[in-house]
């Protein structure tokens, strides 16, 4: 168990944004909220999954919908507590702790917010280990753990219980409710038992986010790659961005020209919420589920895919994904083919 204090929130926000792989939403508002709530609470207990009492339950929480809307229409503050109350009544199970279902982007911080305001411990684990666009792209789905009943809660006080379904159908039901609820909702998934979390959840994801943030702040990309693993792919300037609607989410492609313009090197970054594929000279240099991250070379901050614009100088780096996603069954829901890229998942030879 370790304590998360208000001073860690900045590093957590930066790290979570890095792990968002261009997605996960802006962390600005959520970081301010989290910092205030943690400061009020003093600190938050962060438990390893195996430190949870036997037979205890923890619920994955997070935001579903648009982060842009979330920042313009802030929460009332009691969304998660109402949702948890309903979930406890509905399942008859007492919840001992919370965990983010996605420890990247805004959702890592919102889990901290919830834990701080509800005075509940936070389990240092999550369902994705990075950012993914859909609720069914979690290890819970991968290992067939129930995610329903899930409760959606909005800032107006309405609560929606989705029960009896799992996987994609649960995601679609939740997603269509979010539209009616005004763009975003807080979501609490079905309580997960401590033993399941120990076996299946992606461990130490909050600590990893904090660490990534700290390394970035202190030593920049070289320090990050040295201590957290990963590889630097490319450094260059964005020379072309084309956006289009791809499936349910917006997406597009960006062309990055290498800083050494003489070399004629170009890299193509595909994006749809996150950055799923990076191609250079007809070779896939990196792809999901690895975390492809574009870092603004000037401000040393990750660039979200909606912030990509002509002329921006970026460093393209890849952080390894949790090992659970690199298995054949893991690559099913989150491999390149799940995002419409008909290429196999590979790490090019000769690259770390």
């Amino acid at each position: 168990m370790w304590q998360l204090v208000a001073d860690d929130v900045e590093a957590l926000a930066l790290g979570a944004s890095m792990l968002g792989s261009g997605g996960g939403g802006s962390t600005r508002v959520a970081a301010l909220m989290a910092e205030r709530l943690v400061r009020e609470a003093g600190s938050i207990d962060v438990l390893d999954a195996n430190e949870m009492p036997q037979g205890a339950y923890a619920a994955p929480v997070g935001l579903i919908g648009s982060v842009t809307v979330f920042e313009e229409k802030p929460p009332r503050g009691d969304e998660v507590s109402r949702a948890l109350g309903l979930l406890e009544r509905h399942t008859g199970r007492k919840l001992h702790a919370l965990l983010p279902f996605e420890s990247a982007g805004v959702n890592a911080l919102l889990a901290v917010c919830s834990a701080a305001s509800l005075k509940l411990p936070l389990v240092d684990a999550d369902g994705m280990g990075r950012a993914f666009p859909q609720l069914d792209q979690t290890v819970f789905t991968l290992h067939d753990l129930p995610v329903s009943p899930m409760v959606l809660s909005d800032e107006k006080g309405s609560l929606v219980v989705v029960d009896g379904v799992n996987h994609l159908f649960a995601e679609e039901l939740a997603r269509s409710n979010v539209v009616t609820m005004g763009g975003w909702a807080m979501l609490v998934m079905a309580p997960q038992s401590a033993s399941d979390l120990v076996r299946f959840a992606i461990p130490h994801s909050i600590r990893r986010a904090v660490e990534v943030g700290r390394l970035m702040k202190q030593g920049g990309i070289p320090a990050l790659l040295t201590h957290a693993g990963g590889r630097a792919l490319f450094r260059g300037r964005i020379v072309e961005v084309s956006r289009e609607q791809r499936g349910r989410f917006g997406g597009g492609s960006a062309a990055v020209q290498h800083v050494d313009t003489e070399s004629g090197r170009l890299m193509r970054i595909e994006f749809q919420n996150e950055n799923p594929v990076a191609v250079e000279d007809g070779v896939v240099r990196a792809c999901v589920p690895d975390i492809i991250c574009l870092v603004d070379a000037e401000r040393m901050r990750p660039v979200l895919s909606e912030e990509l614009r002509y002329g921006l100088e970026v460093e393209v780096i890849v952080l390894p994904c949790p090992l659970a996603w690199r298995t054949p069954s893991g690559l099913g829901p989150v491999g390149p083919r799940a995002f419409g890229y008909d290429v196999p998942y590979v790490i090019p030879r000769g690259e770390p």
Binding site: E240, S253, Q257, V277, V279, D281, G282, V283
Partner: protein
């Protein structure tokens, strides 16, 4: 290109070298193109076709440029249909050879009314730019986009000339002469497969046959019209005093106005009269250009034309009229060696015949060189008209031949020439010598030999007159056969005298 390969995934299985890769992805994202370009390059493919894609990002274009891999984007094309079509063209190019000929033939089923229809049919069926040219290269129909090599018109055989950016297919069209084409069908084809070029040439030849039929039909109509005109004019000449009704009707149908005042013009063509019919439109054009609008009728040695006015032309107008005819025929070098005669204005059908007869008479003296122009008005002939009757008299012609028989039969061309020049130049031996460029003594010797052979003395006034007339008549006869030679020597004689 040796094969067509359809790629369903960006990772390419075995592609034969020299294949064209057609991308057939269900959901095209653009990034596949990049992978495909590299894969295609490694497999030695010749190009990548991306149907249903329109804009390529820099990251796709640049590597393709660097690898020298042609990249074709065809928005809104079905990849499978495209691959099938390409594959057929690659594996069975000879199929091309059979397709355009029936298509062109189908387009030219109906008889042609204008040569433009051939041009349209060939243009649309072969996808080229076609022109119909005359044998000497002038444009008849269509559009000529590339210059045709001059040497083409000399040979008269079908030819495919490779020009910049494509091929020039030239098909000769034979109408009258089996050795010399009358028209050329020239098509400019963009760079194409050799089979397609061959097939297009066949189709062009087929179109050329349709064109030949059209040209032959036009010529037939022209000849029939010419024959009708000539017959009508002959009937008019025969019946000038009382005009039979059917002749008058014919004349009306031909558009001839028999009432009013007529001025006849006779144009005589020396040399090849075979081409007479073909030249009629040019003669009509030339005269019309000079304000001489009227019928042009073919005769055996030239054309009879006349201009009809409702009122009697003023007495001074004949000079200006002659000038116009002169300038019209002065520009007739495209037609050949022509001379003309003009009659006086007369009224009515009988007047027309009279004027034409006078024009014919005047024409007889035109261009004989010694003092005369190429166009003569009958009024300007003066005393020569008196002689004209002598020239035309068959009896005197026979007499002249008998008279000069000793010279003619022995082939004494030089003696005859000397005699004629001697008489024309007032029996002056020195003038004759300088005209013929011989010594004076030679002239004297030849004249004495002529005296000897003919047993006649040109010094006596009667004998001199008879001999000179006989020479003139003979001149008329020979001029019909070879007017040029005769005129040249006469010109020399006249020129030397002026000196």
């Amino acid at each position: 290109m040796r094969d067509v390969f359809v790629a369903h995934t960006p990772t390419l299985p075995k592609v034969a070298p020299g294949a064209l890769v057609v991308a057939a992805y269900r959901r095209q994202r653009g990034f596949e193109a990049e992978l495909l370009v590299r894969q295609a390059h490694m497999a030695d493919a010749v190009g990548v076709v991306l149907p249903s894609m329109s804009n390529l990002m820099l990251t796709t274009r640049r590597p393709a440029e660097r690898l020298d891999m042609p990249l074709l984007t065809l928005p809104d094309r079905d990849p499978v249909a495209l691959a099938r079509q390409l594959s057929r063209e690659v594996h069975a190019p000879e199929r091309h050879a059979s397709s355009p000929v029936p298509r062109v033939l189908k387009a030219l089923r109906a008889p042609l009314s204008t040569p433009d229809r051939v041009v349209d049919a060939v243009d649309s069926e072969l996808g080229c730019v076609t022109a119909v040219l005359r044998a000497e290269g002038a444009l008849v129909a269509g559009e000529l986009v590339a210059p045709v090599p001059e040497s083409l018109f000399e040979r008269g055989v079908p030819e495919i000339v490779n020009v910049e950016g494509g091929h020039l297919l030239c098909a000769p069209v034979f109408v009258e002469d089996a050795m010399r084409p009358d028209l050329w069908l020239v098509a400019r084809l963009p760079h194409s497969h050799v089979f397609w070029v061959d097939a297009s040439m066949h189709a062009l030849t087929a179109a050329g046959m349709a064109l030949a039929t059209w040209a032959a039909r036009q010529r037939l109509i022209g000849e029939r019209n010419a024959r009708d005109r000539s017959t009508l004019l002959s009937e008019l000449m025969d019946n000038s005093t009382s005009l039979p009704r059917h002749v008058a009707e014919h004349a009306v149908r031909a558009g001839w106005r028999l009432e009013g005042w007529h001025v006849g013009i006779q144009v005589r063509l020396s040399g090849d009269t075979q081409q007479l019919l073909r030249l009629t439109p040019r003669v009509r054009e030339l005269l019309a250009e000079h304000g001489l609008d009227g019928p042009v009728v073919e005769r055996t040695d030239g054309w009879a034309c006349w201009v009809t006015t409702p009122k009697m032309p003023s007495s001074g107008s004949h000079r200006e009229f002659t000038m116009r005819v002169r300038s019209a025929l002065g520009r007739a070098e495209v037609i050949g060696d022509v001379v003309g005669g003009i009659g006086r204005p007369y009224a009515g059908p009988a007047g027309l015949v009279q004027s034409l007869k006078e024009a014919r008479e005047a024409c007889l003296f035109a261009g004989d060189g010694s003092r005369r122009g190429r166009v003569e008005h009958v009024d300007e002939l003066g005393v020569m008209r008196v002689l004209a009757d002598w020239y035309r008299s068959e009896a005197f012609r026979a007499y002249a031949k008998t008279l000069l028989a000793p010279l003619l039969e022995n082939g004494e061309e030089a003696l005859l020439e000397t005699l004629r020049t001697y008489l024309e130049l007032e029996s002056s031996a020195s003038s004759t010598a300088s005209a013929l460029r011989v010594h004076r003594n030679t002239v004297a010797l030849r004249v004495s030999r002529v005296e000897e052979m003919l047993s006649m003395n040109p010094a006596g006034p009667d004998e001199r007159l008879v001999l000179q007339l006989a020479c003139r008549v003979l001149q008329c006869l020979t001029r019909r056969r070879s007017s040029r030679r005769w005129r040249t020597s006469a010109d020399q004689a006249a020129g030397s005298r002026r000196r």
